[in-house]
């Protein structure tokens, strides 16, 4: 990241020089990151705990059923009091829009916050390496153990580590499944070895997936597999705050001599702690790069060193490119991108609130019979045939009345005064509507059907259809 003025002076050779010195880990080496206490470590623990909802959520009850249940075989999503049916799928589009744009907005403001603090890949990796540290010791001991010959101690440690990893993987898979089926029943089926083929496949896929992705692939997933890592990288602008090394303050870096920083040297004492703690193994002092998941652990490391040598904190800090270069930064409400994102997010949020509060209990669809479009009766009347499909989305049986609007002197056949709709079911009726030819002044007369329920819920559903007659 260079100034425009400096950029023009860079020659092709210089660019290639840099590429020669870049080191990118393509999976050849295992990153054994050091764990340090600090502000951002604490925040990470707190944000990680959001995922407890994933593990504990399925055990909440709502009445006599699971509070949140995505019942795919029955095509019903239960979310506390609300039941969402396939007809309400447009809500899902808004949910996706909401999260997609939120991701963009957050990225624009503070970069890959999701990667650093919320992403299951980095969090599961963090838990896996935490277990690794508990069993195998600090990074130096871990490297030593990796190189050590296979003796009883190594086998014992490695076996228990992999076993715990696999158990976490299984728990992840079970928790995932528990959102789609009754959680308590699922555990019963697991202990009685009574899982069906699909459940076994999901459990295997999640166990293996978690084990491989968090145990072995780790940061390589972020480097080479994750599309969001790349997409988010291009959503930064010069006002986005990211973990940044203050080059002006730190350079020229140099080792501490006699417990003092040499005259003319910067604050960076080249202690490499920022590299040692990095879970993806990047050197933040080389500037922003694709491996950085903005978790802030290098900030903790650098701050603790700055405290020790008596220099102010923040040599590495959350800062935007403009701030580091000493430029003026616009306030957040003056950045057009943020305003546009905020607009889209509010649209989606408003739509969701409207949708959830207007779910309705009735849904009416009408199919007009096409062959033939109309039938002439022996007395000259014209008859049309309609297939009514009424969905009772509520969990109680409903009695409804069906009325027609738009046609004069009509008679119906197959339509009762009161129609019983069983709870949660689609009811289908064939209705014949007959009208004298004298009331039809054109080939097509709009005909509105209204279903009105008045017992359980005061609700109506309408559908505009057509009454066809002969060409006049």
């Amino acid at each position: 990241m260079l100034d425009k003025a400096a950029k023009s002076e860079v020659t092709l050779e210089q660019i290639y020089d840099e590429s020669g010195s870049w080191h990118v880990n393509t999976g050849g080496e295992t990153i054994h990151a050091k764990r340090m206490k600090g502000r951002f470590r604490k925040i990470k623990w707190m944000t990680m705990s959001v995922w407890l909802v994933f593990f504990l959520g399925p055990y909440l009850r709502w009445g006599d059923r699971q509070a949140v249940l995505f019942d795919i075989p029955a095509r019903k999503f239960h979310i506390f009091g609300a039941t969402i049916m396939p007809q309400d799928v447009w809500l899902l589009a808004l949910v996706l829009l909401f999260f997609a744009i939120s991701l963009a907005a957050v990225t624009s403001i503070a970069g890959r916050v999701f990667c650093g603090y919320f992403c299951f890949q980095t969090i599961w990796t963090d838990i896996f390496t935490w277990i690794e540290e508990k069993l195998e010791g600090n990074p130096a001991k871990r490297r030593k153990l990796d190189k050590a010959p296979w003796d009883f101690r190594k086998i014992r440690i490695k076996a228990s580590k992999h076993l715990i990893w696999i158990l976490i993987g299984m728990l992840t898979g079970i928790s995932f499944m528990a959102w789609f089926t009754d959680a308590y029943q699922l555990w019963g089926n697991i202990f009685s070895l009574n899982l069906n083929g699909l459940e076994i496949a999901v459990l295997l896929a999640f166990t293996l997936g978690t084990y491989i992705l968090a145990g072995f692939m780790r940061e390589q997933t972020c480097f080479w597999l994750c599309p969001y890592a790349r997409i988010q990288g291009v959503m930064y602008d010069s006002d986005t705050i990211l973990p940044t090394y203050d080059v002006a303050r730190g350079e020229p870096r140099g080792k501490l001599k006699k417990g003092q920083i040499d005259e003319g040297k910067g604050d960076c004492i080249d202690c490499n702690q920022c590299v040692a703690v990095c879970p993806t193994g990047v050197d933040i002092r080389q500037g922003q790069q694709e491996g950085c998941i903005t978790c802030g652990l290098c900030l903790d490391a650098c701050d603790s060193v700055m405290d020790k040598i008596g220099r102010p904190r923040g040599l590495i800090r959350y800062a935007s490119l403009d701030e580091i270069q000493g430029k003026e930064q616009p306030p957040i409400y003056k950045r057009p991108r943020i305003l546009i994102y905020a607009g889209i997010i509010s649209f989606a949020a408003f739509g969701l609130i409207y949708g959830l509060s207007h779910l309705g209990s009735l849904d009416l669809k009408i199919i007009h019979a096409r062959q033939p479009l109309y039938v002439q009766q022996s007395n000259g009347d014209i008859q049309n045939k309609y297939q009514l499909k009424i969905l009772n989305k509520s969990d109680q049986d409903m009695t409804v009345s069906i009325t027609l609007d738009g046609l004069k002197k009509y008679k119906t056949q197959g339509l009762k005064d009161r129609v019983l709709l069983p709870a949660g079911k689609l009811s289908s009726f064939t209705v014949f509507v007959r009208a004298p030819r004298s009331v039809l002044d054109k080939e097509r007369t709009p005909l509105k059907f209204t279903v009105h329920s008045f017992e359980v819920y005061d609700d109506t559903a309408e559908y505009e259809s057509m009454f066809y007659g002969p060409r006049t």
Partner: protein, 283 residues
């Protein structure tokens, strides 16, 4: 191409194939992902040929360890369907069409399974929705030549029908035919003196509304047995040449084939009768 001793690029593991001084073929390993794909492919081929029918022999072929055949799969699928249909079929076998129609579930079953039967046996003449075709009556209206009750429809399907009306070209003058045809089209044929004088009344009834026991058409309503753009001309033609009158080569043809007697099972006919009854005009 040059020999090994002339190789200008020794030690880089090339094949010795060098073109245009420096274009050369190296002996690099194929990429790992490619090799994985390659090995998976041939393993798939081997496993497939073990599982499924494959290698040809002189008189027969290797049947595969699973013994799978497309025909067997079809039979299994059909058996699975029959298992679902079985209980319904057993139930409706000994019921009358009216009893089946009175039961909502069985009636729904009859209508759904008759849809295919209707398409196979009826739609060619009566149209896919029973809307009728020129010369073939509509099944959706409330006008029935032979009666529109469930039992009537069942009888019609089982035994077929053959319309019958003598040709009147020799018995009536053109003026008389004109008069009668105009009276029919205007719907007031019953008060036309010729209707009684010429004996039309014998089949079509004193009120000209036809008689279902013999299939004579109702001449007062707005539905015609033989529809045409020029309805008047069509009516005249029918009066002159009759229906199924062997003595007149230009006679109208109106015959519905027999579907009973082995062509369709009694159960299928019951299902079809219900289906037709429910098309809109059943009485």
């Amino acid at each position: 191409m040059s020999d090994d001793d002339k190789n200008k690029f020794p030690g880089e593991n090339n094949t010795g194939h060098i073109w245009d001084d420096n274009l050369r073929e190296l002996l690099n390993e194929p990429p790992t992902w490619w090799k994985i794909g390659f090995h998976m492919s041939w393993i798939l081929v081997v496993v497939y040929t073990i599982i499924y029918p494959s290698w040809p022999g002189l008189t027969t072929h290797f049947k595969g360890v699973t013994g799978w055949t497309a025909m067997k799969e079809l039979k299994e699928d059909e058996a699975a369907l029959d298992k679902i249909r079985g209980p319904y079929e057993a139930k409706i076998k000994n019921m009358t069409a009216a009893e089946i129609m009175a039961d909502p579930e069985l009636s729904e079953y009859a209508v759904r399974s008759a849809k295919v039967l209707f398409g196979d046996n009826c739609a060619a003449c009566h149209g896919s929705g029973g809307q009728g075709n020129p010369g073939f009556p509509a099944l959706v209206d409330d006008d029935w030549l032979y009666g529109g009750t469930l039992a009537d429809i069942q009888t019609t399907i089982t035994g077929g029908r053959k319309g019958m009306m003598p040709a009147h070209a020799a018995m009536l003058s053109d003026a008389e035919v004109d008069k009668l045809a105009n009276a029919i089209v205007s719907g007031k044929v019953a008060s036309e003196p010729l209707f009684t004088e010429k004996g039309c009344i014998g089949c079509h009834g004193a009120d000209a509304k036809g008689q279902t026991f013999m299939g004579s058409a109702n001449l007062t309503d707005s539905i015609y047995r033989f529809t045409a753009k020029d309805q008047l001309a069509s009516v005249k033609y029918t009066i002159k040449h009759g229906v199924n009158d062997a003595s007149d080569p230009k006679t109208r043809n109106a015959e519905m084939p027999t579907f009973g007697g082995g062509k369709l099972s009694d159960t299928d006919i019951k299902k079809l009768a219900i289906y037709v009854h429910k098309l809109g005009g059943g009485q």
